[in-house]
Amino acid sequence: MLKIKLSKLPILFDALSDKNKLYIPADTKGGARFLQYENGMTMTKELNTVRSPKDLFFPQTENLMDFKLEGKKIEVIDTREECEDFVIFGVRACDVRSFEVLDRVFLSEPIDTYYKNRREHGVIVSLACNRPEETCFCSTFDIDCANPEGDVASYICGDEMYFEPLTEKGSELLLNLSCLSEGSEAPVYECKRNIYEIKSKLPLSTLSAEKFGKNMTEYFNSDKWDELSEACLGCGTCTFVCPTCQCYDIKDFDTGNGIKRFRCWDSCMYSDFTKMAHGNPRVSQKERFRQRFMHKLVYYPMNNDGLFSCVGCGRCLSKCPISMNIVKVMKKLGEGKDE
């Protein structure tokens, strides 16, 4: 266990950012967000960021390639940016799990090399949640916010921050950082004990996902979707703040003398999502709404050894304009079902 005084954190940030690009959760007018560290920047006191750290592996828009036309010749130009090593500091346990969810999509064949490139260069320093909030339900998905995963786990105990390397990458990151000193494990145990005490009081601590990840046809045909989706505005807020939503669209942009092919996040809530020559396979908002929750709670776990593609971060709970969210869906759909 290594430690540093919280007041000395800027020294650590400066040291880390000397070697790598460093991202920390910092306050902006739009709420906390992972920003590239610059000298003088401080870490937010908010529990979590509004936009998730998936942005750093899977950005909202990304150029894939350019096509240059000369007469009848088409030249294909690889436009991917070289990726340097980078560190994401202060990632919560729920968001760390989201990377596993994304990995299963992007790193299975055919491998998404754009994603893989960033993933290989990223080092994750996670942070335990001393003050979880009412919208948190990570334990529903067997995530432990007192024991976050990642390359290095960190803990804030009183006026000190403790670090525990969990992987080789993590050990390497902490090597030769003279601002860190050896610390005992006792304060970290105390910190975890406090977290467990609060966790047991969380209003969603008893929410179970046991009923999901199966019974696909039954859930698909449930008559509860009408009521659940009736107020949905069809906006993309839930999908864009979600750490695990990974759908994207690929489009061509005509630059006048060539084509820029880019991809951008898509949302199943949008009317032209997966639109094909014949139109959109999901013609109503109810069908589009159902898709989002079926994907997270049923399709994804059925295809991924029971791993749910929700991590209980609670972003959709706080950001949905009409306060409809996955917790309400789980409770309503699960009514009267045996576990």
């Binding site: 007018k29 979880p132 969603l204 107020a231 906006c235 993309g236 949008y270 009409i322």
Partner: protein, 327 residues
């Protein structure tokens, strides 16, 4: 108030006067209130809620609900009533199928505004005499509603209902000393460079979730041009860093003269962009150039932008209003 509303809703449902009720539904916590359609007395009894946290404007849901069989009862706060009036003017809501109950309102709050005060981990909110008692995982807080009102309520423009079939509570008046244009005036006083930088900074946070557009009662096109593949301008992503900015500017132009300033756009923005400032600038300009005009104030009113009078401002007004220096 809530009990009177529930009683009214049940009475009208049971008499067959209305087929459904548009109201607000309880959530997991006391603040996560969802707009909902109630069809039985039982649903109303168990799930209907009305309190200082019922922020969402329900009027836009009538575009769909008023096309169903039978009448829809809707509860309207004064600002929501302006939206309904404008929607009726635009023939987007079928008036005959609506039973509008106006309710008095002293301003609303919501979880975002409360949490901005640093109150986190909210497990229970009760309200007594205008004071919120907020239980959290980390202790209890008491805070008067007026200290956590949304900006649109602090600068409330009117407590009167332009359209209703009946009222619960007292009818109010327009607020003459409303200061809603003060912020716009501050932005107008900036240099063009400062103003440009201000909006660039605010709008650069846009994630293009479309929540502002989708919640907006003035945005009721069957198919938005930005969703129409065939339009050639539909984009889910910005092709350059100015595109998001243009989206909001174009939208503000599109609703100019029709926006009632209900403030839903800013309420729903997950990135806290003060979108209402763009709309208010248009409203302020219309007031100054064509005489005071409030969209939604009277059903059937023609907006100065879709009307002509001899006293209308001439296009060269642009030069007199400071555009010259930039020309």
């Amino acid at each position: 108030m809530q009990e009177m509303m529930k009683k009214k809703a049940i009475e009208l449902l049971q008499s067959g006067e209305v087929a459904r009720v548009l109201g607000w539904k309880k959530g997991e916590f006391d603040y996560d209130i969802t707009p909902a359609v109630f069809e039985s007395a039982e649903e109303i009894e168990n799930e209907f809620i009305y309190n200082s946290l019922c922020s969402p404007n329900l009027s836009k849901y009538l575009v769909k609900e008023s096309r169903k069989e039978g009448k829809t009862l809707i509860f309207l706060k004064p600002c929501d009533s302006y939206s309904l009036s404008q929607l009726i003017t635009e023939h987007r809501v079928i008036r005959e199928n609506v039973y509008a109950v106006g309710i008095e309102c002293y301003g609303k709050t919501d979880a975002d505004t409360i949490k901005e005060k640093g109150i986190k981990g909210i497990t229970k909110i009760t309200e007594n005499d205008g004071v919120l008692n907020i239980e959290t995982l980390y202790g209890t807080e008491k805070i008067p509603v007026y200290e956590v009102l949304r900006e649109r309520c602090v600068n409330c423009k009117s407590k009167k209902h332009p359209v209703y079939d009946e009222l619960i509570g007292e009818e109010g008046e327009t607020v003459d000393d409303c200061e809603r244009f003060d912020e716009v005036a501050k932005i107008e006083a900036m240099t063009p460079e400062e103003r440009f930088a201000f909006f660039r900074n605010e709008l650069s946070r846009c994630i293009r979730c479309n929540a502002c557009r989708n919640v907006c009662p003035a945005c009721t096109c069957e198919k938005c041009v930005f969703d129409n593949d065939a339009s050639g301008i539909a984009q889910k992503a910005a092709s350059d860093s100015f595109e998001e900015n243009m989206f909001h500017i174009i939208r503000a132009f599109h609703v100019a003269g029709r926006c009632t300033d209900c403030g839903e756009c800013s309420r729903v923005c997950p990135q806290n962009i003060p979108l209402h400032l763009l709309n208010r600038k248009f409203i302020k300009d219309i007031n100054e150039l064509y005489g005071n005009y409030q969209a939604g104030e009277n059903i059937g009113n023609r907006s100065p932008l879709t009307d002509y009078t001899q006293s209308d401002a001439e296009p060269n007004i642009v030069y007199e209003r400071g555009g010259k220096d930039n020309a």
